[in-house]
C-alpha cells in the first residue's frame, strides 16, 4: 500500500487505435491515386509541384511554430496533407516558386495565424489556391494536355490546346466526352482530372471511416440535380473540373466543416448550389474552390443551429 504504483485516471481506460496522425496519414494514402494519376498524365513536372507544395507547407509550419516558441507539430502530418492538397489543385506547369508561395500562405495565413491544427476556419489548401488565383491568374489558368494524350483529341480541338473541359464548355460550347473525363486525359489541375483516381482515394477514406458520405454526397447530388434543372448535362458537370476532388477531399476537411449531420447536409447542398451558380453564371469556369471557402464561413453557424435532437428530447413544435 505504501508503494502504490497504480495509474489513476478518468474512464474510459480504452482508446481507439485511430489517432489524428493516423487519420492524416490515411488521407495522404488516399491522395496517392490522384497523385499517381497526375504524374502519369502530366509527367514528372507534376511530381515536382507536389514535392515543392508539400515540403514548403511542412517547413512553413515548423518555422512558424519554432519562431513562436510552440511545439513543432509536423509529426501529425496535417501540414503535409495541406501542402499536398494544394499541389493537387494546381496546374502542372505552374512555376515552382508560386507553388511554394501558395503553401506558405496556406499554412501561414490559412492555418497558423488562427492557432494551428484544429483552429482554422477555412480550408488552408483552398486559402492558398484562392490567393494564388488572385495573384497570378495567368499562371493559375495556363493548362496543358496530358502527356498521355488521348486519341479522342482530334480535329476541332486544335484551337483549344489549353482549355479545361469546363472552360471549353463555357467559352466555346464544346462538351468533352465522358471517357476522358473519367480517366483524366483532359487539361486540368494535377489531381483533379482523373475521376476514377479520385473515387478510389475517396473509397479508401470512406471504408476507413474517416469521412462520411454526407457532405460529398449532398454536394455532388446537388450539382447533378441543379445542372439538370438548368438544362445542362449532369454527368458532365459531376465529372468535369474539381468537383469530385473538392467534394471528397476539400469539403470533408474536418476542421472547417460542420460536425452535425444536418449541418453537413446543408453544407454539401450549399457547396453544390454555389458551384453550379459560379460555373454557369460566374466569371470563372470553375467554382469548387470558392464554393467550399464560402460555405466554410457558415460552419460555425450551421453547427450552432443544427444541433441534433437528443435521445429523449421533446421539442416544442414550432
Amino acid at each position: 500500500m505504501a508503494e502504490n504504483q497504480f495509474i489513476v485516471s478518468s474512464s474510459p481506460h480504452l482508446r481507439s487505435e485511430v489517432s489524428t496522425p493516423v487519420i492524416m496519414r490515411d488521407v495522404i494514402i488516399a491522395l496517392l491515386p490522384p497523385s499517381f494519376a497526375g504524374i502519369y498524365l502530366f509527367g514528372f513536372r507534376a511530381l515536382a509541384v507536389m514535392i515543392v507544395g508539400t515540403l514548403a507547407a511542412v517547413i512553413t509550419e515548423a518555422v512558424i511554430e519554432r519562431a513562436t516558441h510552440r511545439p513543432v507539430t509536423i509529426g501529425d502530418y496535417s501540414a503535409a496533407v495541406a501542402g499536398l492538397l494544394l499541389a493537387l489543385v494546381l496546374p502542372p506547369d505552374i512555376p515552382l516558386w508560386i507553388v511554394a508561395v501558395g503553401s506558405i500562405v496556406a499554412i501561414g495565413v490559412g492555418k497558423q495565424v488562427f492557432g494551428g491544427l484544429g483552429h482554422n476556419p477555412f480550408n488552408p489548401a483552398l486559402i492558398g489556391r484562392a490567393v494564388l488565383l488572385a495573384s497570378w491568374p495567368v499562371a493559375m489558368t495556363t493548362w496543358r494536355w496530358p502527356v498521355a494524350s488521348a486519341p479522342w483529341m482530334g480535329k476541332g480541338f486544335d484551337i483549344l490546346t489549353s482549355a479545361t473541359p469546363l472552360a471549353a464548355l463555357k467559352l466555346s460550347g464544346i462538351k468533352t466526352p465522358y471517357g476522358p473525363l473519367f480517366w483524366g486525359t483532359v487539361a486540368g489541375s494535377i489531381g483533379e482530372t482523373s475521376a476514377i483516381a479520385v473515387l478510389i482515394g475517396a473509397a479508401y477514406l470512406l471504408i476507413r471511416g474517416h469521412i462520411t458520405w454526407r457532405i460529398p454526397g449532398y454536394y455532388i447530388l446537388t450539382v447533378a440535380v441543379l445542372s439538370l434543372l438548368f438544362g445542362q448535362d449532369p454527368v458532365f458537370h459531376v465529372l468535369a473540373g474539381g468537383l469530385l476532388f473538392g467534394a471528397f477531399f476539400m469539403a470533408t476537411d474536418y476542421v472547417s466543416t460542420p460536425v452535425t449531420p444536418k449541418g453537413q447536409a446543408i453544407f454539401g447542398i450549399g457547396c453544390g448550389v454555389l458551384t453550379v451558380l459560379i460555373r454557369l453564371y460566374g466569371g470563372y469556369p470553375e467554382g469548387v474552390c470558392y464554393s467550399i471557402l464560402i460555405m466554410d464561413a457558415t460552419t460555425a453557424l450551421l453547427d450552432r443551429f443544427t444541433r441534433p435532437r437528443k435521445l429523449g428530447e421533446v421539442r416544442r413544435s414550432a
Binding site: 500500500m1 497504480f6 481506460h13 489517432s19 460536425v259 437528443k310 435521445l311 429523449g312
Partner: protein
C-alpha cells in the same frame, strides 16, 4: 434479420476471450471481509452489530430507516473485529464492518425459503427484495425494491432484463446466463410479478450465442418472456439505449424508464432476486470477472461481498506481469484504483488489470472537429462542444448543450483521435451544473 440496436455508440474491442469460456467457480472463503455500510445509491446504513459480536451468514448487519437504501448482510460467519471507515472503490472511505471468518459458514436462521411464487403478493415480493439488500448488480447499485415501486400515477408495462454486458472484458453475466439460465428466468418471473407486468424482454448481445441459446431454452416454457438478440455495440447495455433498442421508446431527458412504462434490471440482479425467494439468502455474494493480461489465471469468481481485491488476485494465481492500472468495473466506465486493499461491493462486476503498455498515456492533441464523437454519442449530443465549454468554465452553455444528459459511457473519449478527455470534462461540467442547481 437485422439485430435490434440504437443509433450511435462505438465498436469497442471485446477482450472477452480471456474469461468467456471459464466456468464460474467459488472463490476461497476469505479470512476477513470488509462490508461497507454504503454500497448502494441512497442513504448509508447504520451498523446493527457491535465489535466483538458473532454473526452468521445472511444475518442483517446494517440497515437504515431512509426510504432509499439497501440493508447489508454478513457474507461469512465469524466475529466482528472492527467498524470503521475503510477505502472503497469509489475513492472515498466508507464506514465498514470487518468480519473475521470462523470458516464454519453457519447460516442465520432468518435465511429460509420464502415459499412458492404464486403464494406471494406483489407487496411481499418487494419487501423480500428490500430485506435481501438487493441492488442493481450491473454497477449502478440502485436499490431494486425502490425501482420496483413506481411513483404515484405511473406504472410499468414492460420489464427488460439486461443481459447485454457490453463492457469489454467482463463475462460475469454471460457465464451466469450460460450456467444458470433457469435461475435467471425464475428471477425474471419474480421481477415481473413484483413490477406488475405481464411481458419481459431479455436483451443479450449477439456475440454471446451460447448465452442466448441457453436462455431461450429456459424461457420456452414461460409465457411473456422473450429473448432479444442485440447488436454487439457499446453501450448497448446502457438503460436508455437498451429501452430504445428493444421497445423503441425514448426515456425523456431528465426522466426515468418508468416514464415510458419500463423497468430495467440486470440479469445478475434477477438471479439474486430469485435466490432471495427460493433459498431466502440475501445478497452476500456475487459473480466478479477478474481479468486483464497481467492476471495469471483470469477467472469468473463467485465472491463474498467484502472480499479484498488483493485476495481475488491470489485466487487467480497472482500476476504474470506487472499491473499498472487496477479498475473496478469494465474499461469503459470502470473506476481506476490506487490500491488493491479495497473490497468487492454489490456493484462490483469486474476487476480489470492493465499493463503499462495497455494504458493510454498519450497527450491530447487539439480537437480537429472530426465529428467522430458526434457520430458515436449514444445520446446524440455534441461532446466536443460540451467539453470545450466545460474546459472554458462556461457551464451554462455546457448545460444548454445537454451536459446533464450525458450518460458518461465514454464512447466519445474512446473514439477521439486527438485523445481528448471528453467525458472527464463533461463529468466536471455535470458536477458543477448540479451544484449550481442545488444552490438555487
Amino acid at each position: 434479420m437485422r439485430l435490434k440496436t440504437f443509433r450511435g455508440g462505438a465498436h469497442v474491442p471485446h477482450f472477452k476471450e480471456l474469461t468467456a469460456t471459464k466456468p464460474i467457480r467459488d472463490a476461497r472463503l476469505p479470512a476477513k471481509v470488509v462490508v461497507a455500510l454504503h454500497q448502494h445509491t441512497g442513504a448509508p446504513c447504520e451498523a446493527l452489530v457491535k465489535v466483538g459480536d458473532h454473526v452468521k451468514v445472511g444475518q442483517k448487519i446494517g440497515d437504515s430507516k431512509a426510504a432509499l437504501t439497501a440493508p447489508v448482510h454478513a457474507p461469512v460467519s465469524g466475529k466482528v473485529v472492527d467498524i470503521a471507515p475503510y477505502p472503497q472503490s469509489g475513492g472515498r472511505e466508507v464506514v465498514s464492518i470487518v468480519i473475521e471468518s470462523d470458516g464454519l459458514q453457519e447460516v442465520a436462521d432468518t435465511v429460509r425459503p420464502k415459499g412458492e411464487l404464486d403464494g406471494l403478493s406483489q407487496g411481499d415480493l418487494r419487501e423480500i427484495i428490500r430485506e435481501a439488500g438487493i441492488v442493481g448488480l450491473g454497477g449502478a447499485a440502485f436499490p431494486t425494491y425502490f425501482k420496483l415501486t413506481p411513483p404515484p400515477g405511473k406504472s410499468f408495462d414492460t420489464l427488460i432484463i439486461n443481459g447485454s454486458e457490453c463492457e469489454p472484458y467482463l463475462t460475469a453475466d454471460q457465464r451466469l446466463m450460460m450456467e444458470r439460465p433457469e435461475d435467471a428466468i425464475f428471477g425474471t418471473r419474480v421481477l415481473m410479478k413484483a413490477a406488475g407486468v405481464s411481458r419481459a424482454f431479455i436483451g443479450i448481445e449477439e456475440n454471446k450465442p451460447e448465452a442466448i441459446e441457453a436462455m431461450q431454452k429456459a424461457a420456452e416454457r414461460h409465457s411473456g418472456i422473450e429473448i432479444v438478440p442485440l447488436a454487439a455495440k457499446y453501450p448497448q447495455g446502457a438503460e436508455k439505449q437498451l429501452i430504445k433498442a428493444i421497445v423503441n421508446r425514448e426515456v425523456p431527458c431528465g426522466g426515468l424508464p418508468v416514464d415510458v412504462g419500463v423497468i430495467v434490471n440486470n440479469v445478475g440482479t434477477a438471479v439474486a432476486v430469485g435466490e432471495a425467494i427460493s433459498t431466502g439468502m440475501p445478497l452476500v455474494e456475487r459473480v466478479v470477472t477478474v481479468t486483464g493480461s497481467p492476471v495469471k489465471e483470469p477467472s469468473n469468481l463467485k465472491v463474498k461481498i467484502g472480499t479484498l481485491v488483493s485476495d481475488l488476485v491470489e485466487e487467480c494465481e497472482g500476476f504474470a506481469s506487472e499491473p499498472a492500472k487496477v479498475i473496478i468495473g469494465g474499461p469503459m466506465m470502470g473506476v481506476a484504483q490506487f490500491t488493491m486493499d479495497i473490497p468487492v461491493t454489490k456493484g462490483t462486476s469486474g476487476v480489470l488489470f492493465l499493463t503499462i503498455d495497455e494504458v493510454s498515456l498519450e497527450e491530447p492533441l487539439p480537437c480537429v472537429r472530426c465529428g467522430k464523437c458526434v457520430e458515436n454519442c449514444p445520446m446524440h449530443l455534441l461532446p466536443l462542444f460540451i467539453s470545450q465549454y466545460a474546459d472554458a468554465g462556461r457551464f451554462d452553455e455546457a448545460a444548454e448543450y445537454g451536459a446533464m444528459d450525458c450518460i458518461e459511457c465514454g464512447s466519445c473519449s474512446f473514439i477521439c483521435p486527438s485523445r481528448r478527455h471528453l467525458v472527464q470534462s463533461i463529468r466536471l461540467a455535470k458536477a458543477e451544473i448540479a451544484a449550481r442547481r442545488r444552490k438555487k
